[in-house]
């Protein structure tokens, strides 16, 4: 037993988090910043933070993840990190030549009270930022929220810094993406194109964190939202924001600063959430939904009807980010599966409210928890109390799945022991088909392996 000390008996825990279902803000800020073309993320704190975040992202995406650090030592922690950051900005522009440096704070620089806005203003005033180059900043203390909050804060900062409203309205829609894979970013662009809508997608990590092997390292790969695109967002007709936890601040900023109204939506995972996304896009861009989208949707629904007997009544435990979990629960309910246990370490009061909306009168059949004291240890204890047929979450769920012999679908961040997530989307109707394929593979494999020989069947 890998997790031999986990027992089904729970004690009331107030202070100890065991096996967290989240990580800290800066890694999210780093990921969001990588979705802007020519941008070098910069971590303002000890170099360990930057090292850990780069390692975590590299293991998940299996791609170069470049970022610089203020390399605090004890002196900077006492006297403040201004000198470090000013020196860093100078060094970065001369050695690594990015178009944008995206600075995020850490728990260290937040605790000593470094004011990033003021330091960046000073860097500009001192002429440390070359003409046409930018330094943006986001406050991302690790003791508030989670990695999703960091993504949210950096995305908001990117939009706030660049988007400008001019007199010239543009026939385009802003698409704000929550924390999803490069493959999902690519899928969002494919869907928009299919619908004939010009969109500005931000962040856009496709062609950055799924870059091809060419024999030549590019410090700033081809992908990412460009500065002119970011600037133009202030003149868009509408913003469609997907994933409330990750994009709400950016959507509100565009509305407040540039009077671009927004739709706040779930990530398009599963049938209904994708339906809402397509309808929102269609209204925002004032275009009819093309038939090809109907056909993709039809194929997804067809697969559900074909294979319904395998889904019906199966109990599922899930952990991860609220933006993924909410539409995923909705999708599982559409399949007549039972999302029995749901845990997210990311805080946010609306989680409970949304869960109640999604589950409706079925809310009694789910145990759920989110926030700082929600962790995978408790999820495992629940599973021990009454088992499940499927576990969905990031790689860290592997230990629970192996101990309890549960089929395990890897979704979320980080996935460090399998590949495919960067290349095959889980968003949209095609993404729904992929989720179904994966669930079915797991459930059928389990059935095959656990059937008596006389019960093994060729056709399923």
């Amino acid at each position: 037993m890998l997790l031999r000390h986990t027992t089904e008996k729970e004690i009331d825990r107030k202070a100890l988090t065991i096996n967290p279902a989240k990580t800290c803000q800066p890694v999210g800020a780093m990921y969001a910043a990588l979705g802007v073309h020519g941008c070098l993320p910069h971590s303002h704190g000890s170099q360990g933070c930057c090292s850990y975040h780069r390692s975590a992202l590299t293991r998940h995406y299996k791609e170069p993840v470049m970022a610089a650090t203020s390399s605090f030592t004890e002196g900077s922690s006492v006297f403040g990190g201004q000198a470090n950051l000013l020196q860093a900005i100078g060094t970065i522009f001369s050695v690594y030549d990015p178009d944008i440096i995206a600075v995020h704070s850490t728990c260290l620089s937040e605790t000593i009270g470094d004011d990033l806005k003021q330091i960046v203003a000073k860097a500009n005033a001192d002429g440390k930022v070359p003409d046409g180059k930018h330094v943006i900043e986001a406050s991302t203390p690790s003791y508030v929220g989670s990695h999703v909050t960091g993504y949210h804060n950096m995305l908001q900062s990117i939009v706030q810094h660049f988007a400008i409203k001019t007199d010239e309205a543009k026939r385009q829609v802003n698409l704000l993406a929550g924390w999803v894979e490069p493959s999902d970013m690519r899928e969002l662009k494919r869907i928009s194109k299919m619908m004939g809508i010009k969109t500005v997608l931000v962040p856009d990590t496709s062609d950055v964190l799924d870059a091809p092997m060419t024999g030549k390292f590019e410090m700033y790969p081809k992908g990412g939202t460009t500065i002119p695109e970011l600037v133009s967002m202030g003149d868009s007709m509408k913003t469609v924001a997907i994933g409330e936890w990750a994009t709400k601040g950016a959507a509100i900023a565009l509305d407040n600063n540039c009077k671009v109204p927004f739709d706040m939506l779930d990530l398009p995972i599963g049938v209904k959430a994708t339906d809402r996304f397509i309808m929102s896009l269609s209204k925002a861009g004032a275009v009819a939904v093309p038939e090809e989208i109907d056909r993709e949707r039809g194929r997804l629904v067809d697969m559900i009807t074909d294979m319904h007997q395998y889904f019906y009544g199966k109990r599922v435990a899930l952990f991860g980010d609220p933006d993924q979990l909410l539409p995923l629960c909705e999708f599982l309910l559409d399949l007549d599966m039972v999302p029995a246990y749901v845990v997210s370490g990311t805080p946010g009061k609306t989680f409970g409210k949304r869960m109640k909306e999604i589950f409706g009168d079925k809310i009694d059949q789910v145990k759920f928890k989110n926030g700082a004291n929600a962790d995978m240890f408790q999820l495992h204890q629940w599973i021990k109390q009454e088992g499940v047929d499927l576990l969905i979450g990031n790689t860290y769920g592997k230990y629970i799945a192996l101990d309890e012999k549960i089929p395990f679908l890897r979704m979320g961040f980080p996935i460090v022991d399998r590949v495919g997530h960067s290349y095959f989307p889980t968003l949209g109707y095609m993404g729904g088909i992929r989720i179904l394929e994966k669930i079915l593979d797991l459930l059928m494999q389990y059935q095959d392996e656990n059937s008596p020989e006389e019960k093994v069947e060729l056709v399923m």
Binding site: L2, H5, K14, L16, F72, T73, S94
Partner: protein, 546 residues
């Protein structure tokens, strides 16, 4: 295809590449970085600037003090609850990411390594202090797991707000009656992971070593220091020692228990592998108990044989020496067979290595065995003695960052049964015969003339080195892996072994040779260029037809 460089007549003077590298830096940065780059001459002493702060804004390989203390040294110990006091990230990132394998003796024996424990500090804990939460977390951990020991690790904000992990640990030790101790290993202390190693060593020595004076159990007793059981390395070494009849009392800290640390002072000899991470414990054990230490290296077949012989020579027992020779003869025959098959395929290939505390040195033995040439190497978090040898220790300037780390004053034990006069005498006698104790020659004397030594290599330097040397293989860590590979150069991770291994001992050498064959003889890199790129006439004819 890039034309490979031929260095069979000797390496060129790397000064021009150093100049080119630093030409891009602002002048202050250039001045500092230049001191960290040395054209090696194994015959002479040359200082390498090491263990100094990384320049802000430079993309570095380095991590932090917490990573060295919790991640490296205490992380692999299975029967202690390693509780991280701080926001969640620090505990999350050090959770199972270092591949330290461990094998409890029974199905139910303690093993907390798959768990991540944190106080998950929230903003109110930063404002009002986190000591109350830490105490409660310790109580909850005790109630749930009933462990024999709990280690508490400080993260950056904990040091700043002044939470006293040591006082909390003392109080809780008294309340719960188990061993509880803290580490002031805030990430900002020191200049790299190395500070964390020192802090971890001090903590273990102060709070654990000597807690159990159990009687000696074997004829030849040793500890392995600085072996972390990445990819099962320690398992391979345990196999060798067991067969030889040498009792491995404790390994610091791969496949280890805090229980074994408690009686690790009852050995006859300490064998230090990773000099940087753990030489402090070896020194302290010698000062307190009179136990001598030697530097060992188990990376490579001949290194393994050499270290085993050195251990046997120390015990000076005919039966042991015979047994060790028997093992070496048998294992080396296996190693030689594989080497003979692989060496012709990889001979003359160029490697460079920028890793860890000793690995950038140790793995040069493996490359040498295969006839490969290390053109450039450096450490991520070493001190000057790791490069130049321990004789420079008295010359190393103690700076403010080093002073931040507690220096323990160790005195000779007053327990006459534990002070080993016999070992002191043995050391003196062997030294007369030329046997080297307490000695590490460092990396540079072993490297070729004009090889380029670089401390704390940066991303910019990495790119330039690849451009200049066009190496066949680059060895570094996960952050560098895909950066280097995108340039068409295979990268071998020497921290995580690319999820392979073991690479220590004889079996390990065989694994590594095979890995080199896989990486260096593969066709994969020939797929990078598209066929239409090299045949432009195809494009031409299409254009004409259009």
């Amino acid at each position: 295809m890039v034309k490979k460089k031929d260095y069979s007549a000797g390496l060129p003077d790397p000064t021009p590449i150093i100049d080119e590298i630093i030409s891009k830096y602002p002048s202050k940065v250039a001045k500092k970085r230049k001191k960290a780059m040395v054209a090696n001459d194994p015959e002479i002493d040359q200082p390498v600037q090491a263990n100094v702060r990384t320049i802000p804004g430079i993309i570095t390989q380095r991590g932090c003090t917490y990573a060295g203390c919790k991640g490296v040294v205490l992380g692999p110990t299975r029967d202690i609850i390693n509780l991280v006091h701080g926001p969640i990230g620090c505990s999350f990132y050090a959770w199972l990411t270092r591949r330290n394998q461990t094998k409890p003796e029974t199905e139910t024996a303690e093993n907390y390594m798959m768990y991540s424990f944190s106080t998950d500090m929230q903003d109110e804990n930063i404002v009002f202090g986190g000591e109350v939460k830490l105490k409660e977390a310790i109580r909850e951990a005790y109630k749930l797991f009933n462990p024999k020991a709990i280690g508490v690790f400080s993260t950056c904000p904990v040091g700043l707000i002044g939470d006293d992990v040591h006082a909390v640990s003392r109080d809780m030790k008294e309340e719960l009656g188990i061993n509880i101790f803290g580490f002031s290993c805030e990430g900002y202390r020191g200049v790299s992971q190395s500070a964390g190693h020192h802090i971890a060593n001090n903590g273990i020595f102060k709070h654990v070593v000597g807690n159990n004076d159990r009687p000696r159990e074997g004829k030849f007793q040793i500890n392995l220091l600085g072996e972390y059981n990445i990819g099962g390395d320690a398992f391979e070494l345990e196999r060798l020692f067991e067969e030889a009849g040498i009792t491995l009392v404790s390994t610091y800290s791969g496949n280890s228990t805090v229980e074994s640390f408690a009686y690790s002072h009852t050995v006859d000899l300490n064998v230090v592998m990773c000099h940087r991470s753990i030489n402090y414990i070896a020194e302290m054990m010698e000062e307190k108990y009179g136990i001598p230490w030697i530097k060992g290296n188990f990376i490579g077949g001949s290194s393994t044989a050499k270290t085993l012989r050195k251990v046997a020579e120390f015990f000076d027992d005919a039966e042991l020496i015979e047994k060790v020779e028997e093992i070496i003869a048998r294992e080396e025959a296996k190693v030689e067979a594989v080497k003979a098959a692989i060496k012709p395929k990889v001979e003359g290939k160029l490697a460079m290595m920028f890793v860890g505390g000793s690995r950038a040195h140790h793995y040069q033995d493996l490359f040498e065995e295969l006839g490969m040439l290390t053109v450039s190497a450096g450490y991520e978090f070493a001190h000057r003695d790791d490069y130049e040898g321990r004789h420079v220790i008295p010359d190393i300037k103690i700076d403010a960052d080093t002073r931040n780390i507690e220096e323990l004053t160790i005195t000779k034990t007053d327990n006459p049964e534990l002070w080993r006069d016999d070992l002191v005498a043995k050391k003196a006698e062997l030294e007369k015969k030329g046997y080297e104790f307490s000695h590490y020659a460092g990396m540079m004397p072993q490297m070729k003339k004009n090889s380029l030594v670089i401390d704390d290599v940066s991303h910019h330097e990495t790119e330039k080195l690849i451009e200049f040397y066009k190496p066949d293989l680059f060895c570094a860590g996960i952050k560098e892996k895909y950066v280097v590979q995108k340039s068409g150069v295979p990268l071998k991770q020497l921290h995580s072994y690319d999820y392979g291994g073991p690479y220590a001992g004889f079996e390990g050498a065989i694994n590594f040779y095979k890995e080199m064959e896989r990486m260096l003889v593969t066709n994969v890199w020939n797929l990078v260029d598209t066929p239409w790129k090299s045949e432009p006439e195809i494009v031409g004819s299409m254009t004409i037809n259009a």
